[in-house]
């Protein structure tokens, strides 16, 4: 018996390997991936339910998270979702921790600057904001890497509407974030091949909604669970407040 087992191990036929892989995948499908290190829940019930089913814990804190836009016009939705995630990451840290928010020149020009009073509604304290008002893409990535070296920066959120970092840069950031066990959020107008831990794709939906798709979830070397997409309607002051709302009568033209 022992000899047969040894022999079968030595042979490593392609067929057998294929079978093994299939079994691994089957097991992975039914068992949640075990992840070490801190993680957060997203506060969206649908996404949290998905993570509960497939991964122990939620979205990992240590790692590079990309939030990408379906089209250029969806950048505001991307940033809204990224701020929600950032707020959850901030909740993990101390009270006086800082959110480093960097934007490239193009992102500033196209999307404007964050408006501090509105941040509270998205869960971020305006006083924790340190904002980089228009930098180049290499400087943006450099700033994100610097932020990882400082324990008081709970999360950094980097916005680039025009270009995504290439694979080398993204891998460098991803490794640094995993080592530091702190998150970096990249809000992107375009995507490229990347070494991100998660990638979310956002599109705006009518009636204050977001179409959120989890495009990538890579936790160490484990097989990714089947990915999913959701239509979310986050609770925002716009949705909650109804007193002054006066819907316009839209006539057929």
């Amino acid at each position: 018996m022992q000899r047969a087992l040894n022999k079968s191990r030595q042979t490593k036929s392609p067929k057998r390997q294929h079978q093994l892989k299939r079994l691994h995948r089957l097991v992975a499908k039914h068992e949640p991936i075990v992840q070490r290190g801190a993680s957060i829940t997203t506060s969206f019930a649908e996404i949290d339910a998905y993570f509960d089913a497939h991964v122990t814990g939620g979205v990992p804190c240590g790692g590079l998270h990309e939030v990408a836009a379906e089209s250029a016009a969806d950048m505001p939705a991307v940033l809204g979702f990224a701020h929600r995630l950032a707020a959850r990451f901030m909740a993990q840290g101390a009270d006086d921790d800082v959110l480093l928010y960097g934007q490239t020149h193009a992102a500033c020009r196209d999307g404007g600057q964050p408006y501090a009073p509105a941040l509270t509604a998205h869960g971020v304290s305006p006083h924790s904001l340190v904002y980089l008002d228009g930098v180049t893409v290499p400087d943006l990535l450099w700033a994100g890497e610097q932020a990882l070296t400082c324990p008081s920066v709970a999360c950094s959120l980097l916005t680039s509407s025009e270009a995504a970092p290439d694979f080398t840069h993204s891998r460098r950031l991803s490794l640094a974030a995993r080592t530091a066990e702190r998150p970096i959020l990249l809000a992107l107008g375009k995507t490229a091949a990347s070494a991100a831990t998660t990638r979310w794709r956002l599109a705006a939906l009518p009636h204050n909604g977001w179409q959120v798709t989890l495009e990538k979830l890579r936790l160490s070397h484990d097989t990714p669970p089947p990915l999913d997409g959701w239509a979310l309607y986050p609770s925002t002051p716009q949705n909650a407040e109804t007193r002054h709302v006066m819907p316009l009568m839209r006539r057929a033209v």
Binding site: P76, C108, P114, P117, D133, P151, T236, L248, R250
Partner: protein, 557 residues
């Protein structure tokens, strides 16, 4: 009353052993504040500094031309304008004038290390008197004698401030009191009293030369005492009874019969390290290694004094004598050599066009230009390096320094609330280096009023083409950045009227006043794709304008 010129009381008139050989230079700058003022003005035409005093704008300091034109200090500005219609004026800044005087004192240390500030006299008119006292005992021969020394000072003052020149009256005497009086009241601009003849020089001066207070000068005038000699003729006991102790002390000090000490300016500790090289260095690596050693030396100096650097200046002198100067501001005072080096590395790597070392850099000088006291952090006992966490504030400060040194101070910012209802003015971004610490910031400026404001506000409102159903209604369709949006839902309007007090108080934002002049009606808009916008109509239809324009101002997520 006898007619003896000298006081009868003192036993040893001018031979106090302590004071022998002491030589004092008194400098008096009659037009100091006006002449050293940074405001640009024509030096040969009347110029005056003005300040509010006794409910009127008054002239505080004049230049020589203004004095000749008949203006005088403490005159009100309307009177001065009546006399000289084209008088040039600028607001006075007394603190700045005092700081400049101190700077001048440090500069005068080329003549003697012992320099004291003249006791400031504030008169009832809010005027100030600017002067300096130099103890040049044993220094004059280095400059070729006392007359040559004064001539040298005078020549340098004549070209002070890029040739604008500065009026100074000087006197050398054996005592502070005599030099002070002679600088102000002697017949000539430049007076030198031979050793031991102070009394003779002072006696013909008016009593005001004795540094008396205005009431005492007044009293002297009423009693008909028009010279120091007249005052000195009285027995001291009688003078004390009539005037109090101070004038007698001043008289004795001026005559050299009472001692007086000169409180020198203490030079601030200088944190300066410098390395001269035998041969010019061109490689940036070698330069970095050199700056590293300098940083270590500077940090050791700073630590020894318990100080942290707030600004570092590095000066690289090339072999052709060109000096490349870099300044680095620090968010938190630091005496950490590794941190300083990292900042310089960033800065050197970011120099526009790279570092042009020419034929090599011959000397490197590193100065902590601004320092503050820091308390040494207490080391945690019994924790290994990995577990020991840097103090959060210091760690953040280090991060800010690195970001600022690479990206620039105006790029790394924090939001600060501003009392305004105009949305784009409610928040301002200030540099992290200027922002106060967070706790006080939060208490002072609660940044929490967000009744449905967009998460992102455009840097400037962008004009859009709008078709509305009715002129004062919500938009029906609009074109922004060449894309046509069909509106499905519009919430609003939220009306924001211009602040009537705008332009009255603290309104120095010229750029925003254009949009501030009309009432805005803000709408939250959703288009067919589900994108959400915040836009406004600038001006009320028919009441403020016939053809109101529309602007896109922000986007909702």
């Amino acid at each position: 009353m006898t007619s003896a010129p000298l006081p009868p009381k003192p036993q040893e008139p001018f031979a106090s052993p302590v004071l022998t050989g002491r030589r004092i230079v008194a400098l008096w700058f009659p037009h100091w504040a006006a002449e050293t003022c940074r405001a640009p003005y024509q030096a040969n035409r009347p110029f005056a500094l003005i300040d509010m005093h006794k409910n009127a704008q008054r002239l505080i300091s004049l230049n020589a031309a203004a004095g000749e034109a008949g203006l005088y200090p403490s005159m009100t500005l309307p009177d001065a304008r009546a006399l000289v219609p084209d008088v040039q004026t600028a607001m006075a800044d007394p603190q700045d004038a005092v700081a400049r005087l101190q700077k001048c004192a440090y500069w005068l240390q080329r003549y003697t290390p012992w320099i004291g500030e003249d006791t400031m006299q504030h008169t009832a008119d809010g005027l100030r008197d600017y002067g300096l006292l130099l103890d040049i005992s044993g220094c004059a021969h280095l400059f070729g004698g006392e007359r040559a020394l004064l001539a040298d000072i005078a020549a340098r003052f004549a070209t002070y401030l890029d040739g604008r020149g500065m009026t100074a009256r000087m006197a050398i005497a054996g005592s502070i009191g005599a030099a002070w009086g002679l600088a102000r009241f002697a017949a000539t601009d430049l007076t030198i009293v031979p050793e031991g003849q102070d009394a003779e020089a002072v006696l013909p001066l008016p009593p005001a030369a004795l540094r008396l207070t205005p009431p005492h000068i007044d009293l002297c005038q009423r009693l008909g005492l028009d010279t120091v000699a007249a005052l000195a003729r009285f027995p001291r006991a009688d003078l004390t009874r009539r005037f109090g102790p101070e004038p007698v002390l001043r008289l004795e000090q001026a005559l050299g019969q009472a001692g007086e000490s000169l409180n020198p300016y203490l030079p601030p500790p200088q944190f300066l390290v410098r390395q001269n090289l035998a041969q010019g260095v061109t490689q940036i690596e070698a330069l970095t290694a050199l700056i590293d050693t300098l940083c270590v030396r500077l940090a050791a100096q700073l630590k020894a004094e318990g100080q942290g650097a707030q600004r570092l200046d590095v000066a690289l002198t090339r072999s052709d004598n060109l000096v490349l100067a870099l300044a680095l501001p620090l968010a938190h005072p630091s005496a950490d050599a590794a941190h300083m080096l990292r900042l310089f590395e960033e800065r050197l790597s970011r120099l526009a066009g790279g570092l042009d070392a020419g034929f090599g850099i011959e000397s490197v000088q590193l100065v902590a230009a601004k320092t503050t006291a820091i308390t040494a952090p207490q080391d945690t006992i019994g924790l290994s390096g990995r577990l020991r966490k840097t103090a959060p504030i210091a760690a953040l400060g280090g991060l800010y320094d690195r970001l600022v040194s690479r990206l620039g101070a105006q790029v790394v910012v924090r939001p600060v609330a501003h009392a305004s209802y105009i949305p784009e003015r409610a928040v301002r971004f200030v540099s992290v280096l200027q922002a106060q610490n967070r706790a006080s910031d939060e208490a002072a400026n609660p940044l929490v009023d967000a009744a449905a404001r967009p998460l992102f506000m455009l840097c400037a409102p962008e004009a859009i083409e709008v078709i509305a159903e009715i002129p004062e209604g919500a938009p029906y369709r609009f074109r922004w950045r060449r894309v046509l949006h069909e509106v499905t839902t519009a919430y609003g309007p939220e009306r924001i009227a211009p602040e009537w007090w705008g332009g009255l108080v603290g309104d120095n934002d010229v750029g925003t006043t254009r949009h501030n002049s009309r009432t805005r009606d803000y709408y939250r808009i959703e288009d067919t794709q589900g994108h959400r916008f915040w836009l406004y109509r600038d001006g009320l239809y028919d009441r403020e304008t016939d053809n109101p324009r529309w602007f896109m101002h922000g986007v909702f997520p």
